[in-house]
C-alpha cells in the first residue's frame, strides 16, 4: 500500500510539472512523439537497411501544382532517422516522345534535423503511358546513394487550376504555381506563389524580381472584385512571390493575374474588363 502511495505521489508530481512546462521548452516529453503524426504519408520507399518516407501536410496523394514534400530517411539498423543526409532530388516526366523535369526547390532540413522539406511543381498528371518519377540522392553512413522511384501524380479532385505553364511574350516558358493561402478565409489573406522558368527541359530556375498582378473575381457574382489586394512581389528570403489576397465572401473565386518582368512589361495575362471577364493567366479557389 505504501509503495502505491509513493508511486501515485510521484505520478502526480510528474504530471504537474509536465503540464506546467510550456510545449517548446521541454524536449524530453516530446521524445516519444511522432512529429509526422498529423501528416499524410504519400509514399514509403523501402530499401535494404533504410527506408525513405515522403509526407504531405494536407494531401493524401501527389497532385499537380505546388507540392511541398517532407522527407525522412530511416536507418533500419539503428531505428533512427538520419540527419545530415544531403538530399538532392530530380523529378522527371516520362512522356512518350520525350522527357522533362519540373520546377523544384532544394531539399533542406527543417527545425528538426531529421525532417527535410522541399517542393516540386508538377505541371501535368501522369497517365497509363506517361509517368513521373523522382530521383533521390543522399548520403547514409558516409555512403552516397541514388534511388529513382515512380510516383503517381493526379489532377486535383476539384479540378481547379493552381498551376499555369505558359509561353511569355519574351518567348520564354514559365511555370507559375499557387502556394498560399491553403485555407482561404474571408479576410485579407497572405498570398504566395512560385515562379520558375524553363531554361532547358531539365532546368527550371526560380525567376526573380518580376511582379504578379492579381485581380480576384467571382464569376458567380457578376465578376465582383474585392478591394485592397496587393500584387505579388519577389522575396529573396523565401524565393517566392508574396502579396495580399482579399476575399470578401466565401465561394468560388478566380484569381486573374498578369505577369510583369522587371521593366514592367506584360509577359502574360490581360486586364479584366467589362468585355474581357477573365485573364488567360489565373488560379481558381473555392471555400
Amino acid at each position: 500500500m505504501k509503495t502505491l502511495k509513493y508511486i501515485s505521489l510521484l505520478l502526480i508530481t510528474v504530471l504537474t510539472f509536465s503540464s506546467c512546462s510550456s510545449n517548446g521548452d521541454d524536449e524530453t516529453t516530446k521524445v516519444e512523439e511522432n512529429p509526422m503524426e498529423d501528416f499524410f504519408l504519400l509514399k514509403e520507399l523501402n530499401y535494404e537497411g533504410h527506408s525513405v518516407e515522403l509526407y504531405s501536410e494536407n494531401k493524401t496523394q501527389f497532385e499537380i501544382g505546388y507540392t511541398p514534400i517532407y522527407i525522412r530517411i530511416k536507418d533500419k539498423v539503428t531505428e533512427n532517422y538520419v540527419e545530415n543526409a544531403n538530399i538532392t532530388w530530380k523529378p522527371m516526366m516520362h512522356m512518350e516522345a520525350m522527357q522533362h523535369s519540373a520546377p523544384s526547390s532544394k531539399v533542406m532540413a527543417t527545425d528538426d534535423p531529421s525532417i527535410y522539406k522541399g517542393y516540386i511543381v508538377f505541371q501535368m498528371p501522369g497517365n497509363t503511358t506517361e509517368y513521373w518519377d523522382i530521383t533521390f540522392n543522399y548520403t547514409l553512413n558516409g555512403e552516397a546513394i541514388s534511388k529513382t522511384e515512380r510516383i503517381d501524380v493526379v489532377s486535383p479532385s476539384d479540378g481547379f487550376k493552381r498551376v499555369n505553364t505558359f509561353m511569355g511574350n519574351d518567348d520564354t516558358r514559365y511555370v507559375l504555381a499557387y502556394v498560399d493561402p491553403v485555407a482561404p478565409e474571408v479576410t485579407l489573406n497572405d498570398m504566395t506563389a512560385v515562379l520558375h522558368k524553363m531554361e532547358t527541359m531539365m532546368e527550371f530556375p526560380v525567376v526573380e524580381n518580376y511582379t504578379i498582378e492579381i485581380d480576384p473575381r467571382m464569376p458567380g457574382m457578376g465578376n465582383h472584385t474585392s478591394p485592397n489586394n496587393e500584387d505579388l512581389t519577389y522575396s529573396t528570403q523565401t524565393s517566392m512571390y508574396n502579396g495580399k489576397l482579399s476575399l470578401s465572401m466565401t465561394g468560388y473565386w478566380k484569381i486573374n493575374m498578369k505577369l510583369l518582368n522587371q521593366d514592367g512589361e506584360v509577359l502574360k495575362g490581360e486586364d479584366v474588363t467589362e468585355d474581357n471577364p477573365e485573364s488567360s493567366l489565373y488560379f481558381e479557389i473555392e471555400f
Binding site: L188, G222, P227, S246, M249, T250, G251, Y252, E286
Partner: protein, 682 residues
C-alpha cells in the same frame, strides 16, 4: 456556415442571463435612493414637442380626423414634425427634423429596441401596433435625450396600460376594411380591471393586397400580412407600489417592398418588460420607476417571389437587446428634477448567403453585420425651474458610455479587408446638454433654447459590410473608426393664443460636426450585381439643417375646427450640397366638425415641388402635389354598448403622386375608401 446563427443564439442566451443578473444587481444598488408615482411625462407637457394620441379604440372614439384602425405609421405621419420614409405600404421609417433612425432615439415605453434589417426595412415602429399603444411622445433635438443619445430627437411610444379600478371585464371587437388594397383588419381586446390587479390582452390582424396608385396603376409587391398579440398585467402590491409586466409578440409575413429589390418573408419581434413603480421613495423622491426589459427581433429578407433576380440571396438578421432604466423625480417649490439611469446591451448580427447560378459552385457567404455588441450606459439629469409664474427654464444633461465590440471572428476578419488595423472594441463617451427658456407675455409665449448632443455611429455605419442601398445603387461599407457625430442646435418658437385662435411659429437650426454619410470611394468595386460602386460611411466636416413651421388653429364657430400648418426645411453638407430626404415646402389643412355622435373631417395636404434634392444620393426631383381626403364618423348605441362607425375616402381625386419620402419614387396609394367598426362591451 449555416450553424452560425444557432451558435450565436446559444451564446446570446447565456449572455442574456448574465446581463439580466447584472441588471438586477445594478438596479438593487442604484435604487436605494428614490419614490411617488404619477405619469412623469405627463408632468411636463409644456416641453414635450408633440403628443400623438394613438390609443385604444376606447379612448379614440370621439377623435376626429384619424382612422381608428390606421397603422401606427399612418398615425405618425399625421404628426406635425414627423415624416415617414416609405419603401412600400408597410414598415415606414420615421424621420424627425428631417433626420432618420441613426440620428433619432425611438423607444417603446422607454425601452431601447433596434431593427434587425441591414436595409432599414424594419424600423422599430414596425414591431408594435396601435392596439398596444397609448401615445407617441415626440421630442425635438436634445429634449429627446431623456430616452437616449440622439441628434434629431426622440420618439417614445408609450404602451397602453389599464387602471387599478373596479371595472371588471371589458371587451372590444374592431374591424376595418379598406378598398384600395383590399386591407382587412380584425382586432379584439379583452381586459379585466380590479382594485389590485389588471390584465389585458389584445390581438390585431392585418392583411393587405397590392395597392393601386392614382390612376389605377397596380404597385406590385406592396402586399403585407401582420399580426400582433399583446398582454399586459399589473399588480398593486400596496397603495403606491405596483408591479407591471408587458409582453408583445409581433409577426409580419409576406411583406412586399416595391421600392426595393427584395421582400420580407418574416419580421418577428418579441418585446417584454417588467417594471416596478413606486409613488414615493425614501421620502424625497417621487415617481420612482424601474424597468428591466428584453426584446428579440428576427428579420428575413426574401427575393424568391421576384422575377429576374440576378442571383438569389438569403439575408436574415437578428437583433437582441436587454436593458433597464430607473428614474425618479425630486420636487421642491420651484424645481422639478428628473433623474434617470439607464443601460442596454444589444447584439446585431446579419448574414447573406448567395446561391450561384452554377449549381456546381459553393454558396457564397458573408456577414453583413459581424455580430456587433453594443453596451450603452447613461445618466440623465433634468431640472425644470419655474423662475416665476410666467417664466421657466429647463436644463438637461446626459452622459453616456458607448462601447461597440465585434464578437464574430469571421466578421472581424472580413472587416480587416478594409481596415487591416481594426480593433475589436471601440469606446466612446457621449455627452448632451440643453437649455430651454420659456416666457409668457400676455397672449404670447416665447421660447428659446439650445443644445449640444453626440451620437455613436450605428451598426451599419460602423461595421456594415457591402450593404446595398437601392436608392442610390451603391454598396455601403461601414468605418469602425468614425468620429462621434455631434449636434449644436438652437431653436425658437413664438405662439399666440386668444379666444378661438391659436398661432405658432417655430424654427430650429442644427449644425452637425462630423456628420456621417456615405461617400463614394471609387477605389472600390461593388459586390452587388448591378451596383454603381461603393460608398464608405464618412464623417463630413459638418452639415446644417434648418426647419421652420407655422401652425394655426381657428374655431370660427362652435364645434368647427380649422387647422392649417406649413413647414419649410433645408439641409446642406459642408460643400453646400443638398442633403437627401429633406422636405420641400409642405402644407396641411383640415376642417373638422362634430356634433352629437357625428364627426366629419376634410383634409387637404400637399408639398411644393422639391427644389433642393441631390442626385448623388439617388434623389429625383418630386413634383408638387395636393391630396384631398375626407372622413365621416358616427357613434351608435347597440344593446347598451357603444358601436362606433367611421368611414372615409382618402385621395378623393385619385391623384398619382410621389413625394420626397418615397424611396425610389414609388407612387403613393390612389383613391382609398375605408370603413371601420368597433364595438365595445362594458
Amino acid at each position: 456556415m449555416k450553424t452560425y446563427s444557432n451558435r450565436l443564439a446559444m451564446s446570446m442566451l447565456s449572455q442574456k442571463i448574465i446581463v439580466f443578473f447584472c441588471l438586477v444587481c445594478l438596479s438593487g444598488t442604484v435604487l436605494q435612493a428614490q419614490e411617488k408615482q404619477i405619469d412623469s411625462l405627463g408632468l411636463l407637457p409644456v416641453y414635450l414637442d408633440e403628443v400623438l394620441l394613438i390609443g385604444h379604440v376606447k379612448e379614440l372614439k370621439y377623435q376626429t380626423g384619424q382612422k381608428p384602425l390606421a397603422t401606427l405609421d399612418e398615425y405618425l405621419e399625421g404628426a406635425q414634425k414627423v415624416n415617414m420614409i416609405k419603401r412600400g405600404a408597410y414598415a415606414w421609417e420615421p424621420s424627425l427634423n428631417n433626420m432618420t433612425s441613426e440620428r433619432l432615439v425611438v423607444t417603446i415605453d422607454g425601452m431601447q429596441i433596434f431593427g434587425a434589417c441591414t436595409d432599414k426595412m424594419d424600423p422599430v415602429t414596425s414591431y408594435v401596433d396601435v392596439s398596444n399603444l397609448k401615445e407617441a411622445q415626440i421630442q425635438s433635438s436634445q429634449q429627446g435625450a431623456v430616452l437616449g443619445n440622439t441628434i434629431g430627437g426622440g420618439i417614445n411610444l408609450t404602451l397602453h396600460k389599464n387602471k387599478f379600478e373596479n371595472n371588471g371585464l371589458t371587451a372590444t371587437v374592431e374591424n376595418a376594411y379598406e378598398s384600395n388594397n383590399n386591407l382587412r383588419v380584425i382586432g379584439a381586446d379583452v381586459g379585466f380591471e380590479g382594485e389590485r390587479f389588471y390584465a389585458n390582452g389584445d390581438i390585431m390582424y392585418r392583411k393587405a393586397d397590392n395597392y393601386y396608385a392614382g390612376g389605377g396603376e397596380e404597385v406590385e409587391f406592396s402586399q403585407y400580412e401582420k399580426y400582433n398579440v399583446s398582454l399586459n398585467t399589473g399588480y398593486k402590491v400596496e397603495e403606491g407600489k405596483r408591479l407591471l409586466a408587458t409582453l408583445i409578440y409581433d409577426e409580419a409575413k409576406d411583406v412586399g417592398y416595391p421600392a426595393l429589390p427584395m421582400d420580407v418573408s418574416l419580421a418577428r419581434g418579441i418585446i417584454s418588460s417588467i417594471s416596478w413603480e413606486q409613488d414615493t421613495f425614501l421620502g424625497v423622491l417621487t415617481n420612482w420607476e424601474t424597468k428591466g426589459y428584453y426584446n428579440y427581433i428576427k428579420h428575413v429578407m426574401d427575393d424568391t417571389q421576384r422575377p429576374d433576380v440576378a442571383i438569389h440571396m438569403d439575408m436574415p438578421g437578428w437583433s437582441e437587446t436587454v436593458g433597464f432604466y430607473s428614474q425618479a423625480n425630486y420636487t421642491n417649490s420651484n424645481h422639478f428634477v428628473t433623474i434617470k439611469a439607464d443601460g442596454y446591451y444589444n447584439r446585431s448580427y446579419a448574414e447573406m448567403t448567395m446561391y450561384p447560378n452554377n449549381p456546381n459552385e459553393e454558396n457564397m457567404f458573408m456577414l453583413t453585420w459581424p455580430d456587433v455588441r453594443t453596451l450603452n450606459t447613461g445618466l440623465y439629469l433634468e431640472d425644470l425651474i419655474s423662475l416665476n409664474n410666467k417664466q421657466s427654464l429647463l436644463l438637461s444633461t446626459r452622459f453616456g458610455v458607448h462601447r461597440n465590440t465585434v464578437a464574430d471572428d469571421f466578421g472581424f476578419n472580413s472587416l480587416k479587408i478594409f481596415y487591416p488595423e481594426i480593433e475589436r472594441t471601440n469606446n466612446r463617451l457621449l455627452k448632451s446638454f440643453s437649455a430651454q427658456y420659456k416666457k409668457d407675455i400676455h397672449a404670447f409665449t416665447v421660447s428659446v433654447g439650445g443644445g449640444y448632443g453626440e451620437r455613436a455611429p450605428s451598426v451599419s455605419e460602423g461595421y456594415g459590410f457591402y450593404l446595398f442601398n437601392s436608392y442610390d445603387g451603391f454598396d455601403y461599407v461601414g468605418d469602425p473608426d468614425l468620429k462621434t457625430e455631434a449636434s449644436v442646435e438652437a431653436n425658437t418658437a413664438v405662439s399666440f393664443k386668444k379666444k378661438n385662435i391659436e398661432l405658432k411659429l417655430e424654427a430650429n437650426y442644427f449644425y452637425l460636426p462630423n456628420y456621417i454619410i456615405g461617400v463614394v470611394d471609387s477605389e472600390f468595386a461593388p459586390m452587388t450585381i448591378g451596383a454603381q460602386g461603393v460608398k464608405i460611411y464618412t464623417n463630413l466636416d459638418h452639415a446644417q439643417l434648418f426647419n421652420t413651421s407655422i401652425q394655426t388653429e381657428w374655431q370660427p364657430i362652435n364645434r368647427l375646427v380649422v387647422k392649417a400648418t406649413a413647414s419649410w426645411h433645408r439641409g446642406t453638407d459642408s460643400e453646400d450640397e443638398n442633403l437627401p430626404l429633406i422636405s420641400p415646402l409642405a402644407y396641411k389643412t383640415s376642417v373638422s366638425y362634430s356634433k352629437s355622435g357625428y364627426s366629419g373631417t376634410v383634409l387637404v395636404n400637399g408639398n411644393a415641388a422639391q427644389e433642393n434634392f441631390n442626385p448623388t444620393y439617388g434623389e429625383m426631383q418630386t413634383d408638387a402635389y395636393t391630396v384631398v381626403s375626407a372622413t365621416f364618423g358616427k357613434r351608435f348605441f347597440v344593446a347598451g354598448n357603444n358601436l362606433y362607425a367611421k368611414a372615409g375616402v382618402e385621395n378623393i381625386f385619385d391623384v398619382n403622386y410621389t413625394t420626397f419620402t418615397d424611396w425610389n419614387s414609388i407612387p403613393r396609394m390612389g383613391r382609398n375608401m375605408f370603413v371601420t367598426l368597433s364595438y365595445s362591451i362594458n
